[in-house]
């Protein structure tokens, strides 16, 4: 074990300096929890957040005598993922047992796939956006996929009594087997070379593109913060010009897109420092710390890890017919990158606007909002403005949440937009209404009704207010009549004040000018 403490960062060299001497090789392993109704090998429910150990049965608890049965929907999802990643789909493949002892694994073997993955030899073309402040074109990097295979998740251990929540120093551990047996797809890239200094961005862009793809396939809710999409990042460096890969480390616990980029970048700078000092990289797993932005040593890992894989004798081989594969291919959604280009055209956004929308993960909600009747411009204004700002801090302890987790639906936003365009609400009222919707007070119409938010439609009341203000401000009226039409602003303000905000400012302006007989 390393003497490394969680608090202490190791030596690093500046990124640019590291890149002047070394070439990175990265590899990404992504685990996706499938959104199937039942587990991989039994009929237990898969919902997130149930009381511990309430979604279990003899099979997923590994009781004596229990046997697995493959979830056909999970196999179909795996095949669809493979096809979307341009993979070959196996004619015939088996599950294998990966044997090791750990309390969160009920059978002390994980039913997985080993040398016969369901999908293999694919690729995903990933668009890497231009760097901040640099006037450059986005570039496309082809990420080669080695394999995508099916396996079951383990239970979830919670280590109690220690300072860090890690097993070290804990007095005891609790295990929740609700997660045991949830279907997982592990997607493994080939070692990616040639990204150079852009490697951290490529890593982030790949995981982001994969997330979009999986979401479009509707096979998983792909929530990194809930662990339904988990990424392990392998990093190694080799001296510039060399073709021999260096020793790699595998960084775990990388639970956001931003962290993927940061963790890869950090490991590159740490490796460079170790190699500069003439030392060797220890092949090990490393833990990423989101707060401090560093990795710390985990378990030494070597190719000598012996999981004693052998074909799972309790299951029969999976042999999808070519007809089934083609049937599934026909269900594939539009490629997310193509879809993005199509939507941009439909919505009339600029490149910059569209990129911001995509980066914010807002394309989907905007699409749904537009479908619900809002204009593309209004949808963008709300989701990328007020709502995006709130999403940044709406989580527990000020953490960010997904837009859709704010409690406002695309239908709500479309309804709100409708209230504005119909003239019922002005902008400020719309914001107050949104406030109410966020607070769970109901739909926009319900909130506006309950809070009495409505522009005064009674022209008589407005005319009275205008007359009153004109009478009270002869000097301003004089200026306007004298040609200083912009002075009307002072009068509008007073009219709005008299109306307690419940007037349409544009209408007030027109009325004042009409009353004074001045051309706007």
């Amino acid at each position: 074990m390393s003497t490394q403490t969680a608090a202490g960062a190791e030596k690093t060299v500046p990124f640019e300096e590291a890149m002047s001497r070394y070439e990175p090789v990265i590899g990404l392993e992504v685990h996706v929890e499938l959104g199937t109704r039942t587990k991989m090998f039994c009929g237990c429910a898969t919902g997130f957040g149930a009381d511990p150990n309430t979604q279990t049965c003899p099979v997923c608890l590994g009781l004596p005598g229990a046997l697995p049965v493959v979830n056909a929907t999970a196999v179909e999802s795996a095949i669809r993922i493979g096809l979307a990643l341009n993979c070959e789909i196996a004619d015939w493949c088996r599950f294998a047992r990966k044997n090791y002892f750990y309390p969160d694994m009920p059978k002390n073997f994980q039913t997985s796939q080993y040398d016969e993955p369901i999908a293999f030899e694919g690729y995903l073309d990933v668009e890497v956006p231009p760097r901040e402040g640099l006037d450059e074109e986005p570039f496309v990097f082809r990420v080669e996929i080695e394999r995508a295979h099916m396996e079951e998740d383990t239970g979830k251990s919670t280590h109690v009594g220690g300072a860090t929540g890690r097993i070290h120093g804990a007095s005891h551990s609790l295990v929740d087997y609700n997660r045991a047996g949830i279907p997982l797809i592990e997607i493994v890239t080939k070692p990616l070379t040639g990204a150079g200094e852009r490697a951290p961005e490529v890593a982030k862009a790949y995981v982001g593109a994969l997330r979009d793809l999986l979401r479009a396939l509707d096979v998983s809710d792909v929530k990194m913060e809930q662990g339904s999409l988990r990424c392990d990042a392998n990093v190694s460096l080799m001296p510039t010009g060399s073709e021999r890969f260096g020793t790699r480390t595998e960084t775990k616990n990388v639970n956001s897109l931003r962290s993927v980029e940061r963790a890869v970048r950090y490991e590159m700078t740490r490796h460079a420092a170790v190699l500069d000092a003439g030392a060797t990289i220890l092949q090990e797993t490393r833990h990423w710390h989101e707060d401090t932005g560093i990795t710390t040593s985990g378990r030494p890992k070597s190719d000598a890890d012996d999981y004693r894989y052998f074909p799972e004798p309790d299951l029969v081989p999976v042999a999808p017919s070519r007809e089934d594969v083609e049937r599934l291919r026909a269900t594939l959604p539009e490629n997310p990158a193509q879809r993005r280009r199509r939507l941009q055209e439909e919505w009339g956004y600029t490149d910059l606007e569209m990129r911001d929308v995509v980066n914010a993960g807002a394309a989907e909600v905007i699409e749904e909002t537009v479908a619900a009747g809002a204009s593309a411009a209004a949808a963008r204004k709300w989701w990328m403005g007020e709502l995006a700002r709130r999403a940044k801090t709406a989580g527990e302890g000020g953490a960010s949440v997904e837009l859709l987790d704010l409690g406002v639906s695309p239908a709500h936003v479309a309804e709100l937009d409708g209230l504005v365009t119909s003239g019922r609400l002005n902008d400020s009222m719309a914001r107050q209404t949104l406030e109410g919707v966020l607070a769970g007070e109901g739909t926009p119409t319900e909130v506006a009704d309950a809070r009495g938010l409505e522009l005064v439609q009674d022209d008589g009341a407005l005319q009275a207010a205008v007359d009153e203000v004109i009478a009270a401000n002869p000097d301003v009226v004089e200026k306007i009549r004298g040609g200083k039409v912009q002075a009307v602003g002072a009068l509008i303000g007073q009219v709005m004040k008299t109306m307690r905000g419940q007037a349409d400012a544009g209408k007030a302006r027109q009325l004042i000018l009409d009353t004074l007989g001045v051309e706007g």
Partner: protein, 506 residues
């Protein structure tokens, strides 16, 4: 007097019991009580049962009697009691697999075969003794003491299902469920003068049956006659969606086949590699006579060769331990089973190690170590990989043999029952007991052992094994029933009738 009456009831065949229950000549409660009485008297001597469930058995019996009195349509074996090997999970009833590890394990669910037995309305008398996790050929590896052979209390009843066979041989049950991974139903049947069938792999659900070696394990019936075995076979077999390896096809008509009396035109193959040398003279003599009787029944005897059977034992003792090492990994004291907590504040890993050390017997540890080694990287290809290739060759041997013959026959076990303690120190000698039965498990084909007579040298029963192609289990029953009837005629009764009275030991 009542004891004699009870004893009389226990001596009926299952077919006779079913008939008399249907006639209303006896009640299931009487029949079940008769067996329970005999168990109370003899089980302390034999140790065939690890657990007896009088309340549960009698409750089922009374329920059946009530239903019958009410004129309900009942399954054929309704009310006929049965014993279940302690390897099948029974909800609410301790299930140990013969291991200290599971001494207090009460399953929260029934194995599919137990559900099928309950659906057949058969009172479950109790759970029978076995070698720990079914590893052994004598029941001496049971953590709860060996079972004694009813023919000779100083001899082994075979294994691993010695408890089931001894119970049936000693009239402590008319029928019993066994499991057969390399001969654990057939070899005990042979050395106790009873009948036992290992059906085609996948014919009977393994769900809820504690796994030894998943690709070899198969559940089957133990009985005193072929017709009785067929009735239980029919109850047990059938597709189960909970077992992925379960065959989704109609169950062969084994009950119909068990009425066969004529074998004209049937080709019976004698496997050169599993007879002759190495087989006890009396066992071989009864086998040779049985061949004559098969000829007399109209069968044609042909010699076939299965050249790779010589490697079966070696392949088996790589595949079985490999699968077992993984199947038994779950016994780690974390969720259920024996927990041994070392001094101080041990880690989970230390608790696992201490518990497995205390909970497993030597034979289990031996096989876990063998299997762990055989699956290790660098050795996998040489051991597990090669063994799988041998397995394929053995399956091909069977295919070729079944082109020349409709069924194959051999002695079931090389010897009659050996003495308790004789082979416990010599694992290889113990393993050799299964030399004739192992090939069927490796190939997944069905096999049956029926009594062929008693050996001249020790007056102990010998067994004859019948093997058939996969999914042709009815052939076993056709040949078994015809030969059984013929031998009964020529030998003046069933072999089991020659068993001596059991002397109660304190």
């Amino acid at each position: 007097m009542s004891t004699t009456l009870s004893d009389d009831l226990t001596r009926l065949s299952a077919v006779q019991m079913a008939d008399r229950l249907a006639d209303g000549a006896i009640t299931s409660e009487q029949l079940t009580q008769a067996h329970l009485d005999r168990i109370v008297r003899l089980n302390p001597t034999l140790n065939a049962y690890l657990l007896v469930d009088p309340e549960g058995a009698l409750a089922t019996a009374r329920e059946v009697d009530r239903a019958r009195a009410a004129g309900e349509d009942l399954p054929r074996l309704a009310g006929v009691p049965v014993a279940v090997k302690d390897i099948a999970c029974t909800e609410g009833m301790t299930t140990t697999a013969g291991s200290r590890m599971l001494a207090d394990f009460v399953p929260p669910y029934d194995a599919t075969i137990v559900t099928r037995i309950r659906d057949a309305r058969m009172p479950i008398l109790g759970k029978t003794n076995m070698d720990e996790f079914a590893m052994g050929s004598s029941t001496e590896h049971s953590a709860f003491g060996p079972t004694r052979n009813p023919w000779d209390l100083d001899r082994i009843p075979g294994g691993s299902g010695g408890g089931s066979s001894a119970a049936v041989a000693a009239y402590l049950a008319p029928l019993a469920v066994g499991s057969d991974t390399g001969g654990s139903i057939r070899q005990p049947a042979a050395v106790t003068g009873t009948v036992g069938t290992k059906p085609t792999y996948g014919a009977v659900s393994r769900y809820g049956v504690i796994a030894l070696a998943s690709s070899l394990d198969q559940i089957g019936p133990c009985a005193r006659t072929v017709a009785d075995a067929a009735l239980l076979h029919e109850v047990l077999a059938g597709h189960d969606p909970m077992d992925s390896t379960s065959i989704d096809a109609p169950v062969p008509d084994v009950v119909g086949a068990s009425g066969t009396t004529d074998l004209t035109g049937l080709r019976v193959g004698v496997v050169r590699e599993i007879s002759g040398e190495g087989f006890q003279a009396g066992v071989q003599a009864r086998f040779d006579e049985a061949l004559d009787q098969l000829r007399a029944l109209g069968a044609e005897i042909v010699e076939v060769s299965c050249p790779h059977f010589g490697y079966a034992m070696a392949a088996y003792y790589l595949i079985l331990p490999s699968e077992a090492s993984s199947n038994l990994a779950r016994y780690d004291a974390m969720r259920y089973g024996l927990r041994e907590t070392p001094e101080g504040s041990p880690s989970a890993e230390q608790v696992m190690a201490a518990s497995r050390d205390a909970g497993f017997g030597d034979e289990v540890k031996r096989r876990i170590i063998l299997g762990t080694y055989a699956l290790s990287s660098g050795y996998y290809d040489a051991y597990y990989g090669q063994a799988q290739k041998v397995r394929t060759l053995i399956a091909r041997d069977f295919e070729a043999a079944f082109e020349q013959a409709d069924v194959l026959v051999s002695p079931t076990s090389p010897t009659t029952a050996f003495a308790l303690g004789d082979k416990t120190e010599d694992p290889m000698a113990m393993y050799l007991n299964d030399i004739a039965t192992i090939p069927a498990n490796l190939a997944g084909v069905p096999g049956m052992s029926i009594p062929s007579g008693t050996a001249d040298e020790d007056s102990l029963p010998a067994g004859l094994q019948i093997l058939a192609p996969a999914m042709q289990d009815q052939r076993l029953y056709a040949v078994g029933a015809a030969l059984e009837a013929r031998l009964r005629e020529t030998q003046g009764g069933y072999v089991i009738e020659q068993a001596p009275e059991i002397e109660v030991r304190a």
